[in-house]
């Protein structure tokens, strides 16, 4: 089963694969992100209710979607790593975690900034923002756990186990926060519902969503390659890479 996947379990091929995919992802990300942002910020019509402040949606919604997406993909990598004992999948967990944490942080910040003109307060205990905050704590937990271990192999395995446990809790947290929010509905907070989107507002949003996906993929490739290097430090192909990089460094110095 999945015969085509097995060659990529070998570290070196996975390392080269990452660096082969990198240019595609980064170019796609650059194009879609720039196009989507300019289209959304400058050309899309303003919202009849919120005016131009709604344009923050082009950054808040993609980061919120991919903060959740990154966590689930991290958990899937953890699962693959533990169930099928594929080393690189476990390494991917710590490759994705910081990127996911950054996206969650961005979703929180843009959500708070967007909330200021709408509700007059920097922070509102709205259901979506609260579960986003809890997701940030889950990410910090995975990163902190990984860094507290000395031996990087056990660290990667522990982080993937925590990621799996976390992903089971994400829907639970989401619905309990949702229920908690409706419970206190009387607490005079207007429901933060998605504005009904007209098509020419939707296209830039889809572009940005794709853009952020490609950025997530590109950075993850970079970080995964780095994790593979750290993990296989003793292997001959990494030693060769280090030799080659040091000769470059010395030649650079000689050249100067």
């Amino acid at each position: 089963m999945w015969k085509w996947l097995h060659p990529y379990a070998k570290a070196e091929t996975a390392y080269n694969l990452c660096y082969r995919l990198l240019p595609y992802f980064s170019w796609l990300a650059a194009i879609t992100l720039i196009a989507g942002s300019i289209w959304g910020l400058l050309y899309a019509p303003a919202d009849y209710q919120q005016g131009d402040s709604f344009r923050i949606i082009y950054f808040h919604v993609p980061t919120a979607i991919w903060s959740m997406g990154a966590y689930t993909s991290m958990a899937i990598c953890g699962m693959v790593g533990i169930v099928w004992q594929i080393k690189n999948a476990e390494l991917a967990v710590y490759a994705i975690a910081p990127v996911g944490a950054a996206f969650t942080f961005l979703a929180l910040v843009t959500g708070a900034v967007w909330g200021k003109p709408m509700w007059g307060a920097w922070w509102v205990w709205d259901a979506r923002l609260t579960s986003e905050l809890i997701l940030l704590f889950l990410y910090l937990g995975v990163i902190a756990l990984y860094n507290s271990f000395e031996d990087k192999r056990t660290a990667a395995r522990a982080a993937s186990i925590l990621a799996i446990v976390g992903v089971v809790n994400v829907p639970i947290i989401h619905y309990s926060v949702e229920w908690w929010n409706t419970l206190h509905q009387g607490a005079s907070i207007t429901k933060f519902d998605k504005p009904s989107i007209s098509p020419d507002m939707l296209w830039p949003l889809l572009l940005n969503i794709a853009g952020f996906l490609f950025i997530l993929a590109a950075i993850t490739c970079l970080r995964l390659a780095n994790q593979i290097l750290i993990n296989d430090a003793r292997r001959p192909w990494v030693k060769a890479l280090v030799e080659q990089s040091s000769t470059e460094a010395t030649s650079l110095v000689k050249g100067k």
């Binding site: 922070w123 205990w125 609260t130 704590f137 860094n147 926060v177 908690w180 929010n181 206190h184 607490a187």
Partner: protein
């Protein structure tokens, strides 16, 4: 090597600096000392709106008290592992045998611990004030009370840690010993913030907190030195 040459007289300032620098290096080696209390502080504060209610009015009322209790618990976390590792590795014994008085070395370690772990709590307290919907004019009073209160908590807590460092289940006993001593600090700090929220003059509570700080700054290291000398034998 003529060994009857009198030792270079070890000035107290050099020893103080040596311990301070050592603590900073340790914090640089293990950044969890800085991040753990901060994240704990953040999470404990976010629990309260989930537990009680997100209504801005109630949050505003309980805000300062919640932030102070969370800071107190975060410092309890810091205090719990102040001398534990040094005791197990024998560093405490070696400090006792140095020519510099032990209370000075302990004071250096506590000062470094404040800069490493507690100053971060101070820095993120405005963010938490935002979370708890605290009015903006109260935030300076909140930060001032934390600036003066956290060292008191650290110094007093360190005495508890020094007393229970050789027992392995020290954590539980530590909170029993130290929490009663924290109560006056909590009372005066929260009343200071309350006075600020009605923009009354809070210099009275401030004076009491500062006097507590001075008392604990001078007597805690001496008590800790005695406690460590006692547990070492």
């Amino acid at each position: 090597m003529n060994s009857n040459l009198p030792q270079a007289q070890l000035s107290y300032w050099i020893a103080f600096k040596a311990i301070f620098v050592r603590e900073l290096k340790l914090a640089w080696q293990k950044p969890s000392q800085i991040i753990q209390p901060m994240v704990f502080f953040l999470i404990v504060v976010t629990l309260f709106p989930l537990g009680i209610s997100p209504a801005p009015k109630t949050l505003q009322m309980i805000g300062p008290g919640v932030i102070w209790i969370a800071a107190l618990l975060a410092i309890m976390l810091v205090v719990d592992r102040l001398f534990r590792q040094d005791f197990q590795e024998g560093t405490i014994e070696a400090w006792l045998l140095s020519t510099v008085p032990m209370s000075l070395l302990v004071a250096a370690k506590l000062l470094a611990a404040w800069f490493i772990s507690c100053s971060v709590l101070l820095l993120i307290s405005p963010v938490l004030a935002l979370l708890m919907n605290v009015e903006s004019q109260v935030i300076p009073a909140l930060m001032l009370s934390l600036l003066i209160g956290t060292p008191i908590l650290l110094f007093v807590g360190a005495i508890g840690n020094a007393l229970t460092v050789s027992l392995n289940q020290g954590g539980v006993l530590l909170s029993l010993l130290v929490l009663p001593l924290y109560i006056p600090v909590l009372i005066f700090a929260t009343s200071l913030i309350e006075a600020a929220s009605f923009n009354m003059d809070y210099s009275g509570q401030l004076a009491i907190l500062v006097s507590m700080l001075l008392v604990s700054c001078f007597f805690a290291p001496v008590a800790i030195a005695a406690a460590l000398k006692n547990t070492v034998n």
